[in-house]
Symmetry: C2
Subunit: 246 residues, 2 copies
């Protein structure tokens, strides 16, 4: 068997998230079906670096898949893409060591959240940005966010804590920048809790619209109570950017 | 009655074009319905500067509408937008002289056509770009296009000629430029024939992919025969940018 590492991009609008489930089309199931059609194998299990939720997008989701196909990689890449719908594309395929696991070997991940804060939402951004129709102060949001850098217990930003053994994570980078009519909130950490990016965004949003002072973000972090944080921002603004491996 | 000039943007993907028709939702019918809901008038006729075809988008379609509503313009703008679906937005409303007509008073229009020429089409561009999966030579396309500048009979680029009294138009500007993974073909003229932008794009595409020499574009123009030009490029790459009035 060969172990293949894929970089996958998708518009998650019309999917029930990454992980295969009974009631909705998912990215994983669609990708596995494309693989199975090409390789004629009964099951090609595709392991994603992390589950993305319903409606969340990816520019560089990392995936590994075991297959016995003898196809050369450029041929396989073309063949898989020919079987995928237009809202999912495999950008690259490489062969990796047998022990490589897209989940366990990830050392950091970077996400972007896009907000179109114009009073009149841009129709072309409705699937790929949150459009709250409130002008936001990006500089204030950036300053307020800096207290989240470093190693902290992020349970205030986890939906239905506890989901994991520990809610301690290390945030390597968090930035809020304006790009024309949109804000980009980018976060990079050694791992993320359930809804962590979206609840951080909902918290910074309260600062950006002037409801909360900048210092409140640190109070939320220290409270270790999800009820202190802002709302969970909607999924359509969230993009998994890339995953870093050792 | 007040005569209002609107600037409207729309994602045309899910519409049968600008003009009201029996069998498909259209931009005009959707806009008129929003107006009628707000003003309680029986019919508010919205005149667009030009019809856009099914699947074609607009960043700045100009429209004029007669209404007796006493609402102030900022209030009317908010109210109309609150009634429109997320894929249509009115960007501005101003009151204009009674004799203003969005069609007749237009002196030039600018369109953009977007091509994603990457081998692996970007899922996020599938609704807003043509994705032929052929790398194109933008510089060759730009050079080849320059012969179209000026006053010419463009019937070689008109579907089902003749649709109008004359197929002579003046092209003020035509450029092909690369922006990351996409090409933008922008054209500005005193008017456009039916499918003119899309058949110019289909012709330049033959040059860009190396099928036709650059000089062939002038041969096509001089032939005055639609069969000499390239294919009509698909609608999803086309954007009406803006209309200029005297």
């Amino acid at each position: 068997m060969r172990n293949l590492k894929l970089i996958v991009t998708y518009d998650g609008t019309d999917y029930g998230g990454w992980q295969t489930q009974a009631n909705a089309p998912t990215i994983q199931a669609t990708l596995e079906k494309a693989f199975q059609t090409i390789t004629c194998e009964k099951r090609v299990h595709c392991v994603g670096s992390g589950r993305t939720d319903a409606g969340v997008h990816a520019l560089g989701q990392a995936v590994n898949a075991f297959t016995a196909t003898p196809l050369e990689l450029p041929t396989l890449l073309k063949a898989i893409n020919s079987q995928l719908p237009a809202d999912i594309a495999v950008l690259s395929i490489e062969e990796v060591r047998h022990s490589f696991c897209a989940i366990k070997d990830a050392i950091k991940k970077r996400y972007r959240y896009v907000i179109d804060d114009s009073r009149i939402p841009d129709p072309f951004l409705r699937r790929t940005a949150w459009q709250p129709q409130k002008p936001l102060d990006a500089a204030a949001m950036h300053r307020a966010a800096q207290c989240l850098k470093g190693r902290h217990d992020f349970r205030s930003f986890e939906t239905n804590w506890p989901n994991r053994l520990s809610s301690i994570r290390t945030m390597f980078d968090i930035t809020v920048t304006r790009h024309d009519a949109t804000l980009r909130i980018e976060v990079e950490a050694d791992g993320f809790l359930y809804n962590m990016v979206r609840s951080i965004v909902g918290t910074l949003y309260q600062v950006g619209r002037g409801y909360w002072p900048e210092a409140k973000v640190n109070d939320v972090l220290e409270a270790m109570d999800r009820r202190e944080a802002g709302p969970t921002a909607p999924p359509q603004g969230l993009f998994m950017l890339y995953v870093t491996y050792a």
